[in-house]
Amino acid sequence: MLAVAGITILAGISLFSSFRMETNLDEYMPKTHPAFIYSEEANERFLIKDSILIAVEHPDSIYNPETLGKLIEIEEALHSIEELADSRLQSIHSADNIVGSEEGLDIRRFYVSAPTSQDEADEIRDAVRKNTMIAGRIVSADERTALIVVELPESGFSNKLYDKIMGLSKQFSGPEILHVAGRPIVEGTLAILGPKDMGRTGPLVILVIAIVLLLVLKQLRRTLITLAVVIASTIWAFGLMTALGVPLYSVSIMIPVMLIAIGVAYAIHLYNQIDFFAKGNPGADRLEIAVNAISVIGKPALFAALTTVAGFISLVSSQVYPVKYFGLFTAFGVAASWLLTMILVPSGIVLWGNGKPPAVSRREINGSIPFGARFADAISAHKSLVYVLTGFVLLLSLWGISRVWINTSFLDNFEQSSPIVQTDAFVNRYFGGTSSVNIILDSDKPDTFKQPEVLALMDSMQSSVMKLENVGDSQSLINYLKRMHFSMNAEDPAYDAIPGSSDIIAQYLLLYEMSGDPDNLWKVVDADFRGANVTVQLKSDDSRTINRVIDKAKEYADDFAEKGITINFAGSGYKSLIFSNLILSGQISSLGLSVLIVFLLVAFMFRSALLGAIASIPVLISMVINFGIMGILNIPLTTSTALISSIAVGIGVDYAIHFIAHYREHLRKTGDEAVAARFSMSHTGRAVLLNAAIVISGFMVMVFSVFPPNRQVGLLVSLNMLTAFLATVTIMFLVLRKSSTILKERK
């Protein structure tokens, strides 16, 4: 016990000394995946960077001296932030206006210093209205909102920077409203809300479990011991995590709830056996009671723990790091709680006795025996009804499964009504979009992207992508060339097109490179014109939107291939998509793995492949129902919900293990199938019911999480526990009874 306390304290120290939350999405991705490597290279080639968007909204119009002046002040304030000193900013203040006329070309800023009169502000407005590169792009069409795009520095985004930018937005508010959006801000918000959420659900789950334990165990002492076990195991798991330098990912927020809800099960079964034995043997001393409990429950509890650990360990096969780590450390925590239960509960009995045998409890046990037995009889009598109902539920679920979709939207981690989602929606409503995907075109030949026919194909791809739902804007070499051609030909609309010869294209681009900001050009094309980048801005970061763009672009792959050009993708949106495919493949592999491990473990434990298969029935059913419900309720597969079924397999099979162990033992002892059925249903059935009830009540706490995916996980795991429990005591029970003759023969 001292050792346990010592380790717990050490783990606690490790936990509090170096704890950090990882919210940079790139850190969630496997860095060796070819798509990621390509995407990283493209990001470097075309200077693709995540941006923070600051939208300055005025109640009437931004074209007044104060608001236009404020844009300059905000830009200066941004540049005075150390991390952003060299960041590129884009706004109507920093952008150039190119006006073409018969004689020449006028290139100048819309304004350099704040206008002093409304007339000057109106002139700026008129100039912006005429420039299609600017109007609607960095000033909204209704002229009430101006955008400042802030490119993030190489050093990335930090909580400190997040605070500074948020502070700045507050400082400059009124009468304008400042909206801060963009992927870095979403990630930053998660970094702040994540630990807060864990701080809220953690204590709540302890409270709920404590109440449920008191109700179930009816003893303060037992409740405290059991709580000590799960809290210690949680601290161990987190201590190990921080000691190994693994940061907290958003899915890790669920670890405490998981460990507390799952960890109490072993104690429940031990105490159930202790009460049962003490009732049957009133004279037994403390040691006898403890030894009996360990000898009866030890093996099934060990295997129940092993299968649960296996369920979590199977997540290690995922290529997604947070999922891998989540599986690993929760598995460790579960193992720790099994070990601690097996040490602390019996030693508690030996040290302090069994406590007063709860009188109420006895009556309840006495009362529940007939119920359990009656239930066993009822199930046995209505076999066909059970089979038909099961079949119906499975069919319905299979239909639901066909509707399951994968979502990697980072923003969907938040409530629809949360400020971050609202701001994002605001910016998406008035501008091109807060998310993006890059279409990268590559050729072996230099100067490929100076050829008019290549550019025409690019133009047609770009315009068809622009027609897709949720696509707000796009930028490529095409935009620059058309604008140059238009300006150099006195803004004659007939010249708002791709120029007809590669020489004129080369000369325009040289002119741009010499007189403009060449970095703008290197964002859309390679310096030797072998590669081009089309940036597509999206109003949603969900996988469906990104997939539509990719599918549309790929329709042009053959046409590009004829010209020796390959098509690829990059950018944070694309990486999310690859990520979602990894989640799906990880999901399938870890699910298969967990079912296999569970089957092998149970088969080994009972030395029977048949029982291994029977024990797998409830988890397979609950798995099918799980995905069916996800499809029916439109709950997408995400990094969080993808975890559920492997976990559910590991936990759900526990009921079957306990049930089968007691059924077989009793069958062998009495030789009477009906008696064994009644006993296992009333005695083990009760423990299993309590076990399921506690796990469910623990997971239901996640409904109070601020993150919708975590709420979905809470509900779905609860549902899985319920279906696994129901399947165990109904259909699995029937199949088990049917196999009785074989079980007896094998004796």
């Binding site: 006028d106 290139i107 120029p499 040289l510 010499m514 030797d528």
Partner: protein, 272 residues
């Protein structure tokens, strides 16, 4: 799109960074700041006021090398002359082939309140266009030189101080730090190596707004032409993105008495 400041700007370097011998930019030793010598400002003044030729013609080859060692080479013919109140320049591209004949003309005025006049000629359009622009572009033709780097910055715009002594290629130098008086300048400070025997510089380090070393300029080759010390090869290395731009001048001629009438649209369309 910004300023078409296609001055023969590279040659502006000469006033600042002329040296007597081809020098390898090597630093050795580090002495304490000089005492009793000329002030840092006086040294920078004398560099600024060095005599310059009144006109030059040259062939400029610009080689840009990125961090992956990919090269882009451009060559231009250039012509520049001073006519009292105005400096006039024309540059015409020789290669790459698809931009051959493209030319730029710039007139800049002694009266600093008057902005430059600029024209471009694109052979594919067969038309000269007048360009008017507000500010200065960041990069000279997409190279690692900015217009600021190439122009002659008046010493009064900075505060100078001698921060050490050094030797470059055997030549004793003052190491002078210059901090802009106006914070809108692109750099937080520059550090220059100025010869103690002649009003000339060998090397300059440019620090960005966060005071990190951004670029290093070194002179690789010089030539005396008609008594004027001319740089014939120089390299700017952006240490942050590992880009380099090498400029080399050949067929350099000075004080040929170029007529002012030559700086006209007709010259641009006809070619140099």
């Amino acid at each position: 799109m910004r300023h078409l400041h296609m001055s023969l700007a590279a040659l502006g370097l000469l006033a600042f960074l002329a040296i007597t011998n081809p020098v390898a930019a090597q630093t050795s030793g580090n002495a304490s700041p000089g005492s009793g010598g000329p002030s840092a400002s006086a040294i920078m003044e004398s560099v600024y006021n060095r005599p310059k030729p009144s006109d030059t013609t040259a062939l400029l080859t610009m080689t840009m090398v990125d961090s992956k060692n990919r090269e882009r080479v451009r060559s231009l013919k250039q012509l520049s002359a001073s006519f009292g109140t105005a400096d006039k320049k024309i540059m015409e591209f020789q290669s790459p082939a698809d931009v051959r004949g493209t030319s730029f003309m710039n007139w800049s005025y002694a009266d600093t309140s008057r902005s430059d006049d600029q024209w471009i000629y694109l052979p594919a359009l067969k038309r000269v266009k007048r360009i008017s622009s507000g500010g200065k572009g960041d990069s000279f033709m997409g190279s690692d030189f900015s217009y600021d780097d190439l122009g002659e910055r008046h010493p009064d715009k900075d505060e100078h101080r001698i921060i050490g002594n050094d030797k470059i290629g055997g030549e004793e130098c003052w190491v002078i730090e210059s901090k802009p008086r106006d914070s809108s300048y692109s750099y937080s400070r520059t550090v220059s190596w100025i010869s103690k025997t002649a009003p000339i510089g060998f090397r300059r380090d440019y620090y960005d707004k966060r005071d990190q070393l951004l670029k290093t300029l070194v002179i690789q080759q010089t030539q005396v032409i008609d008594g004027f010390l001319m740089i014939t090869q120089t390299e700017m290395h952006n240490v942050q993105n590992d880009h380099r731009t090498k400029m080399s001048f050949t067929s350099l001629e000075v004080n040929k008495g170029i007529r002012e009438e030559l700086f006209a649209e007709r010259t641009m369309t006809k070619g140099l």
